[in-house]
């Protein structure tokens, strides 16, 4: 347990020892307002250059303090006084070698925890110290109440509240500085003490090195830095000590290689006590709201249920608002357009009429009716992203994945899969471990992408009416269950059950920005329309040609012959040849399944595609088709990316085999189960 220990009162600084002027150093972490205070104090009386031999900027200035000329040096921003960076080395060398009369540590009242580590190290150096407690206004805005006098008592050095940006409290700071310089106020610093189990070791090292140390390095500070594993100090001592002494010190350090953690732990425990003593954080505002909401949203069980509920709500919204609009588009726009085109092309060759009416309008037009549904999907997910909920969803999902043995770093790529599987597979590049990356590549296509969801949103309401929400919800859960089970199985084979740690800091909840959401919806909708006008259009033309050739009769076309050839496979899942062909044509792009059905069934002003489908198939066959769509091999672009990322056709084959087996078994099981319950 770390305890405070009081250093003896410091002797008053020898003002005037620096050529008739007092020397002050400004220390602090980056972005604490140190430079603002420096500019405020020095105005134009400052010089900017570089620290000798370094590319780090050195700023020095002068100002008059009640008739006393003060030279002030703005030290580079440093998190600690350990040799982790050139800035930290410069800051500590300046304090140790130049021995300023006083150090002003600028700390942020809004982020006291962040600032106090450096203060702990400054206190241990024994240099006269004054704390400028800056950004009091920010702390107040964030609902943080600080009691500077409590902090002062705990630290043993003066603490002056201030807002450097508004020059508020700076006069008080200068008054205190003047008092310390004049010896009217003597700080009694209370730095953290090293833990008792390492105190003996520290003392042993101190004894071994003290007689060899050159001025101005204090033996206790050097011994502490050696225990912390400071590379610069270690090098200096190795060069300074006789070989046998260094061997002994080295032996002690090797035996206590965990001392860095013990020393730093002691400082953090000390910081924790300082903060508890001096700060109160009422649970109000954005932070309080985030904490309250996260009790549910980030809970391992309730968080998952909430996520399932939110997904259900998104589907309900989609079917309540999007499906009627889609129906209207199908009947009033696509149907009317097909009727109008048929009339207009009555005198044209039959194949031109077929290509335009059945191929383009029936195929691509049917796909474009997805747009209202997709806009609602995009808007709902953009809203969830923008308010900060998606991070929670990722967290609870990742928790579940870890329970199943999946890799923690996989969750972001997998989450991307809800939009499109291609970036999900590409996103696995951020995973360093090859087995983890490969596993994520293999299972990523099981995340239902927007294109699959659009197919579901088209078919589910037609067959299941008001129950479409539950069917869709069940299909998504079924896909995710398949993902988790496949992942668990593959993890056992590839990972041998290895568990890694992944730490997240989630953003605060905030009000959504409608402009951001609007922009996202616009970009994604535009991308979908472009896809319909390119890849889906090309496939629709190809499918129409195959359904037209060789003699213009669908039932004897190449497509029908192919469909009849592979038909027996589909029968296990309740498909006729048309559903089987629609499924296969979804390989280039998932939406093509609907485009193909539109071509095969045709559309007219009297009957839309959904009417024709419900007349042709049972709900059991529709449910089976949707299940297979969710689990079937991913689209061509995703397969190409799997080849690129996995770097071998072998893994592509494994992936295709996995999805074929999963979709066939899943479809057959769902079809026969649905028939069994009378669907």
């Amino acid at each position: 347990m770390t305890k405070f220990h009081e250093l003896p009162p410091l002797a008053p600084p020898q003002v005037g020892s620096k050529g008739g002027s007092a020397l002050i150093a400004l220390a602090g972490q980056p972005n604490m307002g140190k430079s603002t205070l420096f500019n405020l104090l020095t105005g134009l009386n400052q010089h900017v250059g570089n620290w000798p031999g370094k590319t780090v900027e050195r700023r020095e200035g002068r100002f008059d303090l009640k008739g006393r000329l003060v030279r002030i040096v703005d030290l580079p921003g440093a998190y600690s006084l350990t040799a982790n960076s050139p800035e930290e080395i410069i800051a500590r060398e300046f304090i140790l070698l130049e021995k300023p009369d006083l150090v002003i540590a600028v700390v942020s009242a809004a982020h006291l925890e962040r600032s106090l580590y450096l203060v702990a190290e400054l206190l241990a150096l024994g240099t006269p110290l004054v704390i400028g407690l800056n950004m009091m206004d920010v702390a107040e805005r964030e609902g943080i109440r600080i009691e500077p006098h409590v902090l002062e008592a705990a630290l043993g050095v003066p603490v002056v509240p201030m807002v450097a940006a508004k020059a508020w409290g700076v006069r008080d700071l200068l008054d205190v500085v003047e008092e310390v310089l004049a010896g009217k106020r003597i700080p009694t610093p209370r730095p953290p003490e090293i833990r008792p189990d390492h105190a003996r070791v520290l003392s042993e090292i101190q004894t071994l090195i003290s007689s060899y140390l050159a001025h101005p390095y204090p033996a206790d500070w050097v011994a502490l830095k050696l225990l912390e594993g400071d590379s610069e100090v270690t090098h200096m001592i190795r060069e300074t000590l006789p070989a046998e002494k260094w061997e002994r010190v080295h032996e002690i350090l090797r035996a206590h290689d965990d001392a860095f953690l013990a020393v730093a732990s002691g400082r953090y425990e000390w910081i924790g006590r300082m903060v508890r003593a001096a700060i109160t954080r009422p649970r109000v505002g954005q932070i309080g709201l985030t904490e309250r909401l996260d009790r549910w949203a980030a809970h391992p069980l309730w968080g998952l249920l909430l996520l399932a509920g939110i997904l259900g709500l998104v589907f309900w919204l989609t079917f309540t608002v999007g499906t009627p609009l889609q129906d209207w588009l199908e009947r009033a726009v696509v149907g009317m357009l097909a009727g109008w085109a048929s009339e207009a092309l009555a005198g044209a060759p039959f194949w031109i009429q077929g290509l335009i009416v059945d191929g383009l309008i029936g195929g691509v037009g049917s796909v474009l009716t997805f747009l209202p549904v997709l806009v609602i999907f995009f808007a709902a997910f953009a809203l969830l992203e923008d308010v900060g909920y998606m991070a929670r969803a990722a967290y609870v999902m990742d928790n579940l994945m870890h329970l199943m043995g999946l890799h923690g770093k996989s969750f972001l790529p997998l989450f991307l899969g809800f939009g499109c599987n291609v970036p999900a597979v590409m996103g696995t590049r951020v995973i360093d471990s090859w087995p983890a990356r490969l596993l994520t590549i293999l299972i990523a296509p099981l995340v239902p992408c927007t294109a699959r969801m659009a197919v579901v949103a088209f078919i589910a309401p037609a067959f299941f009416g008001t129950n479409a929400v539950w069917v869709t919800w069940g299909l998504v859960l079924f896909s995710l269950l398949a993902l988790v089970l496949s992942g668990t199985l593959l993890n056992r084979l590839l990972f041998k059950g290895q568990r890694s740690a992944f730490i997240m800091e989630m953003p605060l909840y905030h009000l959504p920005n409608l402009r951001t959401i609007g922009l996202l919806v616009w970009q994604r909708s535009l991308a979908f329309v472009k896809k319909a006008g390119t890849a889906i259009l090309l496939m629709a033309v190809l499918v129409w040609l195959l359904s037209y050739l060789p003699n213009g009769d669908l039932n004897t076309s190449y497509l029908a012959r192919f469909g009849h050839l592979i038909g027996p496979l589909g029968r296990w899942m309740g498909f006729d040849w048309r559903l089987t062909v629609a499924l296969l044509t979804s390989f280039p792009a998932k939406e093509n399944a609907i485009a193909t059905l539109g071509i095969l069934f045709g559309v007219s002003p009297e009957a839309g595609l959904t009417d024709l489908l419900t007349a042709a198939y049972s709900p059991a066959a529709a449910l089976s088709f949707l299940t297979v769509t969710m689990l079937f091999i991913p689209c061509l672009a995703t397969v190409a990316v799997i080849k690129q990322e996995a770097g071998s056709w072998r893994w592509v084959a494994v992936s295709l085999a996995l999805f074929l087996v999963l979709s066939f078994l899943g479809g057959a099981a769902v079809y026969h189960l649905a028939r069994w319950v009378g669907m």
């Binding site: 924790g272 991307l416 970036p423 951020v430």
Partner: protein, 80 residues
Amino acid sequence: MLEQLLAEIRGGGTLEVSVLAKRLNTTPDLVTVMLEHLQRSGYLRSYEPCDDTCNECALKSACRMKDLSSGMRLWQGKGE
């Protein structure tokens, strides 16, 4: 406290800063500061969802990784 934090991390799994703060009986801010310290000391590394590996990606402009992880900070134990 830092040792306790490292022990939690070594236990594996997905950890969240505020949950860690409760387990360590401290504030989320202090946990974040300690994580940054462990990162500077080489025990952890921060996870950048869109780092240099994404620069060559043809789909970079369409990728939502950065937006999805917006506002989040992520760390991972070294050597994992």
